[in-house]
């Protein structure tokens, strides 16, 4: 769960010839391609130009596109987010980088009260076609205020779209979709994913926002996850496969809109479900998924839906304590085994 931990996703046959690149590269190349394709696309954020971004997602772009399209901003999240909203209302397609999701709290009023609502409150006369890219997540020893998963804050708000790609291919496909979408999209990156590698197909095929992916088919139990959690879920699923347990992994990809159909369809097949999330348990994404399953697949459940989430504490700085607070493969495996035992699953 550190930056050097870079498991490679298993590529479908059709993507065997796609170049293997990192999640970071996929984002960088996609931004570049979109800026070439559409002159209305421009970037704003702290240290994204001269410094090429805190996480180097915007490397090389200032040199290529100049300071009018790669705008270094002051440390003033509310101000530059508001400026981007104004630009978007007038037809531009800003892609804002908020250095970490923790700082987006400074811009919550702009995001929640303005970006999300303008289209509705002005009777559809204006749209806000902007993207807010922002990394989050723990595991980097950045302590409590820099290690949060605040996605549920935004996923709760009608008017926003919230996506969270887990692979380099999805990072590209969802970023294309987000930039081309006429509504504000919160684009969640995860610090633990930047160095992960995977095949990324050429071309510019955008993903459908609101569509989950069954990233590993299975028959015995469904694990629903997203972003970095999907990587861990897949690792566990492949390991359990060797023990004769067929785990299906559903990667949400989009937290709003939420693809309830794909989730329920999977659970109707497997009858057992675990939600794996790196945010806190209470009122989290997992609660939403569990309720969705209860409403859509109740008669198919052989056990209660279980959630595996972070300890409900401000994330500690100390490495061992941080590790203990974050959910990992061992925690997920344990809960999966408990459900299998409770339902007399014969291995």
């Amino acid at each position: 769960m550190t930056n050097d931990h870079a498991p490679e996703t298993v590529a479908p046959a059709a993507e065997q010839n796609a170049p293997i690149i990192t999640y970071r590269q996929a984002l960088n190349e996609t931004l570049r391609a979109e800026m070439i394709r559409d002159p209305d696309v421009f970037l704003m954020g702290e240290e994204i130009g001269v410094f090429e971004g805190s996480y180097k997602i915007t490397a090389g772009l200032l040199a290529e596109f100049g300071p009018k399209r790669v705008v270094d901003t002051p440390i003033a999240e509310e101000g530059f987010t508001g400026a981007a909203i104004g630009a978007a209302m007038l037809g531009m397609r800003p892609v804002v980088e908020i250095m970490t999701i923790n700082f987006s709290l400074k811009a919550v009023d702009q995001i929640v009260n303005h970006a999300a609502k303008i289209h509705s409150m002005f009777g559809g006369q204006a749209s806000v076609p902007m993207v807010i890219r922002t990394p989050g997540g723990g595991g980097q020893q950045l302590a409590a205020t820099h290690s949060q998963n605040l996605e549920v804050w935004y996923a709760h708000i009608p008017g926003l779209k919230v996506v969270a790609p887990s692979t380099p291919a999805d990072a590209k496909a969802l970023l294309l979709a987000a930039i081309r979408d006429d509504d504000p999209v919160i684009f969640l990156e995860n610090l633990g994913l930047y160095n992960t590698k995977g095949p990324v197909p050429a071309g510019d095929e955008a993903a459908e926002i609101g569509k989950a992916a069954v990233v590993k088919p299975g028959t015995d139990l469904t694990v629903v996850s997203y972003s970095h959690g999907t990587v861990i879920a897949l690792e566990v699923a492949h390991k359990l496969e060797e023990e004769g347990v067929s785990v299906e992994v559903v990667d949400l990809r989009s937290l709003r809109p939420l693809d309830r159909d794909t989730i329920c369809e999977s659970v109707r097949k497997t009858s057992r479900a675990v939600v794996f999330e790196e945010d806190w348990l209470s009122y989290g994404i997992g609660a939403e998924i569990a309720a969705t399953i209860g409403e859509g697949a109740f008669d198919y459940l052989d056990a209660a839906v279980r959630r595996v989430a972070a300890a409900e504490v401000p994330l500690p700085y100390s490495k061992p304590l941080e590790r203990a607070a974050l959910p990992d493969a061992a925690a997920l495996s344990k809960v999966i085994r408990e459900i299998l035992d409770a339902t007399r699953f014969a291995r």
């Binding site: 009858s271 008669d299 198919y300 459940l301 052989d302 056990a303 409770a342 339902t343 007399r344 014969a346």
Partner: protein
């Protein structure tokens, strides 16, 4: 629009045959109206509407077998749509009329509201009223006609999970395949003339295929025939023996005439109609009470075989076999030892009439602890009856007919009656059964003891 669902008409019912629709699409339906007839294992019962409105759609054809809880019809406001029909001018409320007039008609909105009510969930409950089962286990049980109450849960805190149900299904299949004698005993439902919810009937010993030629008619089994056949087949697995005694019926018949004469004199004007419905006490009624009183002194006879134990019943519920068109019913008079002759008489006639009409309710043919089968009215002198499992004994009664009998050295003509007790030897032994039969004979020969 509200759904009418197949109701649970008995504790163990899992499905029913909707034998006949009594309403048709477009009919106005009120609460309590009989919509259809439901054939359960042995009884035909009425399906009443809990809804007001217009019968908009029939979802199953007459003759279909339907799981409980499944929708069979839709009742709505008559518009045929989920949304209440837009009012046209003619049906617009007359604002000048008082509101109570409006309320007399069921409003479409009410039908809408009731449609939101979930159908009554046919979920069995454990004895403490709580029942742990996963939703999937409940669904699989429902789909396969497994009674959750009979399944032991192996999940957390005894929760029934799907694996428990699939085991139960496999076990039921195995049990029937082996035609295991213990499957005849169901201590939970002693004497209940009813098959197991699963296909026990089809699982009975394979029948030899009869040779058929042109002109032969193949008659499909209805529920009652099928279950009668299955029950009797189960009964053959019971190790049994029969004892016969000859009863001097002279005093019994005289007593009956006397009682009926008294009732006729007292009745008619006031109580007769009410107590006996204007009919007479039958020999069968006398036998029912005589047997019930004798059982009280012989509690061993009032037992059921339960596989690994014997259930000694506290109440004396006497069933009597009634031939009906397509099979055999055994309605039960509960607490027959505590009822008067006229109570028994009234009850047996009502039960027999309902049995012949196929209208017995499940609680009227379940819970028996002893059975009497009387073929005297057909002139049969003597026969052995087949045990009604899991009951321990059945009494077969022949006709009372004049027989030359030696009394005080004189050969005279005495009306006699042969009674035969067939006994489950696992529960009762020869001497116990013989003592019961001897005492029953004494009661019948001193009939005053039947009423005192």
């Amino acid at each position: 629009m509200a759904e009418i669902v197949m109701p649970r008409l008995s504790d163990t019912m899992e499905e029913g045959v909707l034998s006949r629709w009594l309403k048709k699409v477009g009919d106005q339906v009120h609460k309590g109206d009989v919509l259809a007839e439901i054939e359960t294992d042995k009884a035909t019962m009425d399906l009443e509407s809990f809804e007001e409105g217009v019968l908009e759609r029939l979802l199953v054809e007459a003759g279909s077998t339907v799981s409980i809880g499944t929708a069979v019809a839709l009742v709505g406001d008559g518009s045929g749509a989920d949304e209440p029909a837009a009012r046209d001018d003619s049906s617009a409320p007359d604002l000048s009329s008082p509101p109570s007039v409006q309320l007399a008609q069921p409003l479409p909105a009410q039908a809408q509201t009731s449609a939101l009510k979930p159908p009554a969930a046919p979920v069995p409950t454990a004895q403490d009223g709580r029942f742990r089962a996963s939703p999937l286990a409940r669904k699989v049980a429902r789909d396969n006609g497994i009674d959750l109450a009979t399944v032991t849960g192996t999940g957390p805190e005894g929760r029934v999970v799907r694996a428990d149900i699939t085991d139960a299904i496999a076990a039921a299949r195995d049990a029937h395949a082996a035609a295991h004698p213990e499957s005849a005993a169901h201590p939970e439902f002693p004497g209940q003339t009813r098959a197991h919810p699963t296909s026990s009937v089809g699982g009975a010993a394979p029948a030899p295929t009869p040779h058929t030629t042109e002109g032969d008619e193949r008659i499909p089994l209805n529920n009652i025939r099928r279950i009668t056949a299955a029950r009797l087949t189960e009964s053959q697995a019971v190790p049994h023996f029969s004892l016969t005694m000859v009863v001097d019926a002279e005093k019994l018949l005289a007593f009956r005439s006397q009682v009926n004469a008294t009732l006729a004199a007292a009745g008619g004007a006031t109580t007769g109609e009410a107590t006996t419905g204007g009919a007479k006490i039958s020999v069968n009624d006398l036998l029912m009470r005589a047997a019930a009183l004798t059982i009280r002194a012989h509690p061993h006879v009032n037992s059921s075989w339960a596989g690994d134990s014997i259930v000694r019943h506290g109440r004396i519920n006497v069933g009597f076999a009634v031939a009906i068109e397509d099979g055999l019913m055994v309605p039960v008079v509960t607490d027959a030892d505590r009822k008067t002759l006229s109570e028994i008489s009234t009850e047996t006639r009502a039960l027999a009439a309902r049995a012949r009409a196929g209208k017995l309710k499940p609680d009227e043919f379940s819970g028996g602890t002893f059975t009497i089968s009387n073929l005297g009215m057909f002139g049969i002198d003597e026969f052995t009856a087949v045990i009604n499992p899991p009951e321990a004994a059945i009494l077969a009664v022949g006709a009372a007919s004049p027989q030359p009998t030696l009394r005080d050295g004189q050969l005279i003509n005495v009306p006699t009656m042969k009674i035969t007790l067939t006994v489950d030897h696992r529960v009762l032994d020869g001497a116990t059964a013989a003592a019961f039969l001897r005492d029953l004979t004494h009661v019948l020969e001193e009939p005053l003891r039947i009423v005192v």
